[in-house]
């Protein structure tokens, strides 16, 4: 599904080129569960952002479903990630002004899905995450774990092939974190959704079938 060949990204400060990512080669198949680990500043989030097409790169190539991402036009590229990728964030990034229901519904609005269909999809999702009773609450009225559940529900609503999660359990206590990891595992196994997560936590990383270790912008090793 994803192929990275000699991918590099850098910033130039004071005439000196500093590599954020250097010569990354990685192939990820459909249905995989990958964890990316590494210390702060090793380029984990940068890599995730590039995979999510939210950020560009300077060298190399990125193939997503056999499409050359860097040659795609902005419009086509955003279409590609809208259709196939869901994002989950460490800080949940729910929209404060919207209720649980509306937050989950938002991605569908941008895909111009009909009202009746939309209602059915959101209702299914609320059901599945057992949040029907909370659908009219605002994010500030939920616990962190519940917020992250809403975040995941929102990522899943468009039925993506791939979920990119940036430290999804970083703001949660260990019990809530475990629940989220269980959920990811279940999604990966039962729904066949590919998952790539960035994490600091060895225990959480172990949920992945493969663990990519980054150090100073390079792949240090790949476990599994």
């Amino acid at each position: 599904m994803i192929t990275l060949n000699h991918l590099s990204k850098w910033v130039t400060v004071g005439g000196i080129r500093t590599f954020l990512l250097k010569d990354i080669n990685l192939t990820i198949g459909e249905g995989e569960f990958i964890s990316i680990m590494g210390p702060s500043g090793s380029g984990k989030s940068t890599l995730l952002n590039i995979l999510g097409m939210l950020d560009g790169f300077d060298e190399g190539e990125y193939l997503f479903l056999n499409e050359q991402v860097h040659t795609l036009k902005e419009k086509h590229r955003s279409q590609l990630y809208k259709d196939h990728i869901g994002f989950v964030f460490q800080a949940y990034h729910l929209i404060d002004e919207l209720t649980v229901y509306e937050n989950i519904e938002t991605p569908l609005l941008y895909k111009s899905i009909k009202t009746s269909e939309r209602q059915a999809m959101v209702a299914d999702m609320l059901d599945r995450f057992q949040m029907v009773g909370k659908k009219n609450l605002f994010p500030s009225q939920l616990s962190g774990g519940q917020q992250q559940l809403v975040g995941i529900a929102r990522a899943l609503i468009t039925k993506p092939k791939l979920i990119l999660a940036d430290e999804p359990t970083g703001n949660l206590n260990s019990k809530q974190g475990e629940e989220i990891m269980e959920l990811f595992t279940q999604l990966n196994k039962e729904d066949g959704v590919s998952i790539i997560q960035v994490t600091h936590n060895e225990k959480n990383a172990a949920y992945g079938k493969r663990i990519v270790h980054l150090l100073d912008g390079r792949i240090e090793k790949i476990e599994g």
């Binding site: 939210l54 955003s78 990034h93 404060d96 002004e97 519904e105 991605p107 609005l109 941008y110 929102r154």
Partner: protein
């Protein structure tokens, strides 16, 4: 989708109450002012358009070789214009300002016990076809005033006189300078709309004056005269007639009938140019002022632009708090277009709420504004022509531009930057926003300077030495309803005034300073005139011997008239007094002793004295050459008192007046009030400038507040670090304020030359004017700076006091 946008917009407005209130209030005030001024402009634009003959009506004007224009034309030319010139469909003579006097209604069956007296100044002598050519619909009776001693009155007047509009057939006695003449009411017309430049409560048939008995020796008012110009002549042309050709025909006719008009050319001023000229350099007199309309329109548009600018500033500042939302929405798949649309719909909601508030504000401010404008305006004025369309169009375009810019900026951030809340660090749009603040403050400073200079000029005109004294002078209007022994009564009243203890000085004159002269005349020369001297114009003023003393007008040579000279009148006495301007225009040398010298005006007159030049009218006009003619005239009595306890004095004067002049209403004014009323236009403009300045500053400060909040947020980390390193609150406040003061400085540099130019141009309208002094600019700059400092330091101190732990902890 729309529902979602709408919900989010409303929730956002609710969450940021302060921001929403400031933003909406700024916009609402801007819109309200825009609407109020548009009402005024619409009123000016619509003037006279209700006339069904609007496109074919003209006012006859004359121009002489010096490009002086005249509008009072001798009525005797009218018959020839009607009959001899092809293309002319109708001619209407209208004499204003000569008919004012007192109307007395007799009871339904001539019962005089029910009679009522009203003084009315709005009296016109008109051609018989007046109500047929002009569109003033009738409420009762018929239109024709072709018969002498017929009249038409307004509904208002009918109600006053008869308590009903059904007044046709009733009789009214009109007492004015032409004696007491009974008139039959032919028609009652609906009150003339305020959009009409022709205004009257009473229309008298001009044919009445054809009978010498109805002129009371005022033979200049004979409607067949081609010598004295006292009527406006309106001409209605056929639809195919060429106005220039007809004007040429009128010129020839006038030259043929009276060779004195040889240097005059006729011009037909179309009704479409009667109220507002087609351009600033239009040489003919208009009832409205195109300059004022354009000026007001610019103020309106500027204020609205300032309000939009403010909206842009505040909304983009607001965007940091929404950066995350923007980023998340982008990640969730929102296209830039979709996001823009969302922000645009928020602008739309804010605009609509602001517009509704503006309409409420307009209702509240309407009475005050009408006071300023001196008109009865309302939102209904906008209900015509393209005004709604233009107004609404302008508002929509503004909303789209302002909202469009905001949404363009917001939706343009990359999702990663936005989601991490780092928009504040982005420099995008900061230059523009600073530019907008500079723009707002430039406008504000210009308004402040304009206000200061305007009031300086006003103060200068009010307080500088006019050469006369107007203080404690009470002016009583003389009687117009005359009795048989009127002359004797007048003299008796004068004697009574002389005996009244609280009156220190008094005089009787035919006009008073600040109101006008009596008439103007040419053909006055020294005994040995130069060629062309007889074409020079002099203003004639009729007064008694006490006039100069009462108004404290100084003589540079000679003395006032004697009582005997005044009593016999100028023609018999053969004496005149002239001012220094007149002496110079007559050709006497400066300081030449001319008392006792003779001048020619039909016959010889001896100069009894020369008065020092004084400002008879306001400083708009230069001092004119004036010749004073002795007479016992009783149009105005001017009384000097010590100014204390005026109420008691006035009521005692009233009872005196009523005894001597029964049937005449007692009317009075203070000389200085009437004189100052000449500045009412400047006073209005001054009020408007103050209002505009205050509003512009308020709105600009809102923008500044927004920008200051933005900067404080943008530099929050820097401030935190500086505090940890030991910076004081004062030094941080200083750091944050400095940049803004620079902006105000730049605004001042831009505003000064513009304001100087605008006010210099404005001052050229005054014959006597102040020079613009540098400290006006200093004050304006300092004011703007202080206000800006207050606004900014509020935010800066808040930022400086914040605990650095909070700002440094993030990330």
């Amino acid at each position: 989708m729309f529902k979602n946008y709408f919900t989010v917009a409303l929730r956002n407005l609710k969450r940021n109450t302060t921001f929403s209130v400031i933003n909406i209030a700024g916009l609402a005030f801007g819109l309200a002012v825009f609407l109020l001024i548009m009402e005024f402009v619409a009123g000016e634009w619509s003037a006279n358009r209700f006339q069904k003959n609007y496109d074919t009506l003209y006012r006859l004007a004359t121009t002489d070789k010096n490009n002086n224009t005249g509008y009072y034309i001798a009525p005797g030319f009218a018959p020839a214009i009607t009959t001899k010139i092809p293309g002319v469909q109708a001619v209407v003579r209208v004499a204003d300002g000569i008919g004012d006097g007192v109307l007395t209604a007799t009871g339904a069956n001539g019962n005089s016990s029910t009679q009522k007296n009203f003084r009315e100044n709005n009296v016109l002598y008109v051609e018989g076809n007046f109500l047929e050519v002009f569109s003033f619909p009738l409420a009762d009776g018929s239109t024709s005033l072709a018969t002498p001693q017929t009249m038409a009155i307004s509904e208002n007047m009918a109600m006053k006189l008869f308590g009903t509009v059904q007044a046709a057939g009733r009789t009214v006695i009109m007492s004015n300078q032409f004696g007491n003449t009974p008139y039959t009411v032919k028609g009652v017309f609906k009150n003339m709309p305020q959009t009409s430049d022709i205004q009257a409560q009473v229309l008298l048939s001009i044919h009445t004056l054809e009978n010498a008995a109805n002129r009371d020796d005022n033979n200049w008012a004979d409607p067949s005269t081609t010598e004295s110009g006292f009527t406006n002549i309106y001409v209605q042309l056929g639809s195919n007639a060429n106005a220039a050709a007809v004007a040429g025909g009128i010129t020839n006719t006038m030259h043929r009938i009276n060779s004195n008009t040889a240097e005059q050319n006729a011009y037909l001023q179309p009704f479409s140019n009667l109220h507002l000229g087609p351009d600033f350099s239009y040489p003919y007199q208009t009832y409205g002022s195109l300059k004022l309309v354009v000026l007001l329109l610019s103020v309106a548009v500027l204020i609205l632009i300032i309000a939009w600018v403010n909206y842009i500033n505040l909304s983009t500042v607001q965007s940091f708090t929404r950066a995350k939302e923007t980023g998340v929405r982008k990640v969730l798949g929102a296209s830039r277009w979709q996001l823009s649309f969302q922000y645009l719909s928020e602008t739309a909601i804010i605009t609509i709420v602001a517009a509704l508030m503006a309409i409420v504000l307009v209702q509240l401010l309407q009475p005050v504004f009408n006071g300023f404008a001196g008109k009865e305006l309302s939102l209904a004025m906008l209900n015509q022509g393209w005004f709604w369309l233009a107004g609404v169009g302008f508002i929509i375009v503004g909303a789209i531009l302002a909202g469009g810019y905001v949404s363009f900026v917001l939706s343009g951030y990359s999702p990663i930057t936005a989601i991490r809340g780092k928009i504040a660090n982005s420099v995008k749009g900061i230059v523009l926003r600073k530019g907008l603040v500079v723009f707002q403050f430039s406008i504000s400073i210009i308004f402040i300077i304009a206000t200061l200079i305007l009031y300086q000029q006003l103060e200068y005109m009010k307080t500088s030495n006019l050469g006369i004294n107007l203080q404690h002078l009470l002016v009583i209007k003389g009687p117009t309803v005359s009795s048989e022994n009127q002359a004797a009564l007048n003299m008796a009243f004068k004697d009574k005034l002389a005996q009244t203890p609280f009156i220190s000085k008094f005089s009787a004159s035919n006009n008073v300073p600040g109101v006008g002269y009596n008439f103007s005349a040419a053909g006055i020369t020294k005994l040995n005139p130069q060629k062309g001297d007889d074409k020079k114009n002099y203003f004639m003023f009729i007064s008694d011997e006490h006039f100069f003393d009462t108004y404290a007008i100084n003589f540079s040579q000679g003395h006032s008239f004697t009582a005997n000279e005044a009593a016999t009148g100028w023609s018999n006495a053969g004496k005149v007094i002239i001012n220094e301007k007149a002496a110079a225009q007559l050709g006497f040398a400066h300081n030449e002793n001319i008392v006792g010298k003779k001048i020619l005006w039909g016959k010889e007159y001896e100069i009894a004295g020369v008065v020092k030049d004084y400002h008879h009218l306001s400083m708009h006009q230069p001092i004119e050459p004036v010749i004073y003619l002795p007479s016992v005239s009783f149009v105005y009595f001017t009384i000097q008192t010590d100014g204390s306890n005026m109420q008691a004095k006035i009521s005692s004067l009233e009872s005196m007046y009523k005894t001597y002049f029964p049937g005449n209403p007692f009317e009075y004014f203070f000389a200085d009030d009437t004189y100052n009323a000449q500045f009412s236009a400047e006073q209005q403009l001054g009020n408007l400038c103050i209002a505009a300045a205050v509003l512009a500053i308020c709105i600009a400060c809102m923008g500044l507040l927004g920008l200051a909040a933005f900067t404080a947020k943008q530099r929050i980390k820097e401030i935190g670090i500086r505090k940890v390193l030991g910076a004081s609150v004062f030094s941080i406040t200083q750091l944050l304020s400095k940049d803004f003061l620079q902006l105000v400085g730049i605004a001042a540099v831009i505003a000064f030359p513009l304001a100087w130019w605008a006010m210099y141009t404005w001052l050229q309208d005054f014959a006597y004017r102040i020079s613009i002094s540098w400290w006006v600019f200093a004050i304006a700059g300092a004011t703007a700076l202080c206000i800006a400092l207050l606004t900014v330091s509020f935010q800066a101190i808040k930022a400086a006091l914040a605990n650095p732990v909070n700002s440094l902890r993030s990330e």
